[in-house]
Symmetry: C2
Subunit: 142 residues, 2 copies
C-alpha cells in the first residue's frame, strides 16, 4: 500500500490545531465551506468540493490535542477505504503536524494531485491557526 | 527506495514552465534568490537556502519543453544521490507538471517536510508562470 506523508510546523499550541481539525468552524476555514462536521468519535463528517459527490470521513480515533484519524467511507473511488491521520506534537513553542494518508492502492496521477493538495491543506491550516484566516477550497486558485 | 510524487496544473504553455525550471531568472523567482544556474546539460546548478551548505544539482537530462532531471550532488545528506525530475505535458490548454523526487533511502521527518515544500515549489512555479510572480524561499513564511 502507498501513502502520502507530510509535515508542517505551526506557531500555535497543539490545542488550536486539534480544534481546527475537529470542528465545523475550523474545517470550514481550512478545507471547504460546504461541510457537516461533529467533533465526536464515530461521527461521519461530510465535505463537498463540487465534485458531484460528497467526501465522507468517519472519525475513527481522537486523542485530545494529539491525534485525529479519519477513515474515508465515501469519495472518489481511489479514496474509499483510505485513512488520514494527523499527529500533533510541540517542541520549543512550535507545533508539528504530521499528516499521513494511508492505504492507497497505487500511485496514480490522482495520488500525485492529492499529495500536492494535502500540502495546500497544511498551508491553509497553518494560515488559519497562526492568522485566523484559512484558504478553503472556495478561495483557492486552481 | 522511496519517492515524493506530486502534480500541479498550470495555465501556460509547456515552454514557459520549461524556461522557469532551467534558467537563473526562473528559478530565482520560483525557488531561491541566491543561486547560480545554467540551462545546459551537465551544468552544476547551485542553490542557497541559508542552511549553512549549498544544494548542488547536476543537470543530467534535458528534453526541451518536456523533461528536466537533476541529480543532487551536494545538500543535506538525505538528499545527496537523490534525483528530481519534472515532466511537462499539455492537454486542453493546461500544462501538467509531474514532479518526482526519487531514491530517498527512507521516510523521515525531513522527507515529510520536503514533501510539503515541493508543493510550495509547485505553487510558486504556478504563480510565477501564470502571474509573473513566484514565491521564492526568501519570501515564504515558515
Amino acid at each position: 500500500m502507498k501513502s502520502i506523508q507530510q509535515i508542517n510546523y505551526i506557531k500555535t499550541p497543539p490545542s488550536t490545531i486539534y480544534r481546527a481539525l475537529t470542528t465545523q468552524e475550523g474545517l470550514s476555514e481550512v478545507w471547504t465551506r460546504n461541510l457537516s462536521v461533529k467533533p465526536d468519535l464515530g461521527a461521519i463528517n461530510r465535505f463537498d468540493f463540487d465534485d458531484g459527490y460528497l467526501t465522507e470521513m468517519k472519525v475513527v480515533e481522537l486523542q485530545k490535542d494529539t491525534r485525529v484519524v479519519w477513515e474515508c467511507i465515501q469519495s472518489d473511488k481511489e479514496w474509499v477505504g483510505t485513512e488520514i491521520s494527523f499527529d500533533i506534537s510541540a517542541e520549543n513553542g512550535v507545533s508539528k503536524v504530521s499528516l499521513s494518508h494511508d492505504k492507497w492502492s497505487e500511485i496514480t496521477d490522482f495520488y500525485r494531485w492529492c499529495n500536492y493538495n494535502w500540502a495546500m491543506f497544511l498551508l491553509s491550516l497553518k494560515s488559519y491557526c497562526e492568522k485566523g484566516k484559512g484558504i478553503p477550497f472556495q478561495e483557492r486558485e486552481f
